[in-house]
Symmetry: C2
Subunit: 258 residues, 2 copies
């Protein structure tokens, strides 16, 4: 038995997130189906995170155990031939048996895209939130910095998560503008259910003067979901990168493409 780590991209538009559910199509299910077709055996695949319905991934990591003798390149080709067009594996490496896509990760980076224009963008309809009113990305960037650090993020945890501890560490949160596209980039050691979408929603309420620009520390301190802003739509959110210790598993964050 070998443990293989797969890295994939998926367009989450058609999926109810990563994790297998009854009566809903998920990325995990599609991948397990493809693995079964390729190896002849039904294997459970463990993901680096549950992603919500509609969220996309430029780099999603998952692992499974197999007796298949296929090389990494052959496994990639065989899986991609059996996956739908909106899911594609681009890396397959063998990892130690104690590797776990979630617990071995040092952290993750998410990006949230807002198309900030008077006009829709046909190419970004499924990949961004469209907001007509001007965003002040410098104001948003300053407010976002207040998230950085180790905090109890209970105010930014969607209900129904079932998680016990709500302390997380945010290493970086910046807001940048590229023409009419405003990009929220956040890195941290882990994220609660809906956490990025609630953080972005709260920042947007600052932009629209529904909250003072310096409110983030108070909202964090309240530890009350009711004090934070609305959850922004899933379609603008991308899991952008998952970080693993290079010394243990090799530098597979390099050349991730795009």
């Amino acid at each position: 038995m070998r443990r293989l780590l797969l890295t994939l991209r998926f367009d989450g538009t058609r999926y109810h997130g990563w994790q297998v559910q009854k009566n809903a199509v998920t990325v995990q299910q599609k991948l397990q189906d493809a693995i079964q077709t390729v190896t002849g055996v039904r294997s459970g695949v463990t993901g680096c995170s549950r992603t919500d319905a509609g969220v996309h991934a430029k780099m999603f990591c998952c692992a499974f155990d197999t007796c298949s003798p296929l090389s990494g390149e052959s496994m990639i080709s065989a899986l991609n031939a059996n996956l739908p067009r909106d899911i594609a594996v681009y890396r397959c490496i063998e990892v130690p048996r104690d590797f776990h896509p979630r617990y071995s990760a040092l952290g993750k980076r998410y990006r949230y895209y807002v198309w900030n224009s008077h006009s829709r963008n046909p190419f970004l309809e499924d990949y961004s939130l469209h907001l007509r009113w001007p965003l002040d990305h410098q104001l948003l960037d300053r407010a976002a910095a207040d998230f950085v650090g180790e905090h109890d993020f209970a105010s930014f945890c969607g209900s129904g998560s079932g998680v016990k501890g709500t302390a997380r560490r945010i290493d970086r949160f910046v807001v940048e503008r590229d023409g009419e596209l405003v990009v929220f980039t956040v890195e941290g050691d882990g994220f609660l259910y809906n956490m990025v979408r609630i953080m972005v929603g709260t920042l947007l309420e600052i932009n629209f003067k529904k909250r003072p620009a310096d409110c983030i520390p108070e909202v964090i301190a309240a530890k009350d979901r009711g004090r934070a802003g609305a959850t922004v739509p899933a379609k603008g959110l991308f899991l952008d990168e998952v970080f693993y210790p290079k010394e243990a598993y090799g530098d597979f964050n390099q050349n991730k493409g795009e």
Copy 2:
């Protein structure tokens, strides 16, 4: 009567190109339908080019005459509310009555995208050609420079175009790599039917050693479609920008977004 110039983006995947056809859905038809809904009058819309089925546009210009008193901003909002999600107007300005989207243009820029990777990219399936074998973008860039200048491009004109003169001027043709994405950028005063797609197809045959690297001048000189390469698929092609004289029509190439 005023002449209005509309600038739009469209995802060409679902359309049989710009120009109205019997028994096929086109962008022109969708736009004329929307204008009729908004103004109450059926108006003919003149485009800056016929684009082929499946080709996309980040900047497409077209004009129509109307008695509608709507402001530019209101016209944009009203049209977008009546257009499908894969077509969106982002600029509407009044132009002189002698303005013609095609004949007033100084030139155009097209881009062709190749996803050059062992793995599919779910986000670029409809917007690029996927090639697994490595492209040498420096070799391609050197060969592409041979297209620059004023030439008779009959060798690069798809059959059935019905056009008389085949002389065109290419001002710039570069090939660049951004990770696994290889981008062909070509600017010129005008383009024949399928011309960009045949030029890219011929360059790719140089990459794959089917032709010598210095063959382009000979292929041009032959004035024979049979001497050039295959026509690459439409889905990788974008009309990127249309150039008009600033002094005559204002600087509407600025702030085109994205």
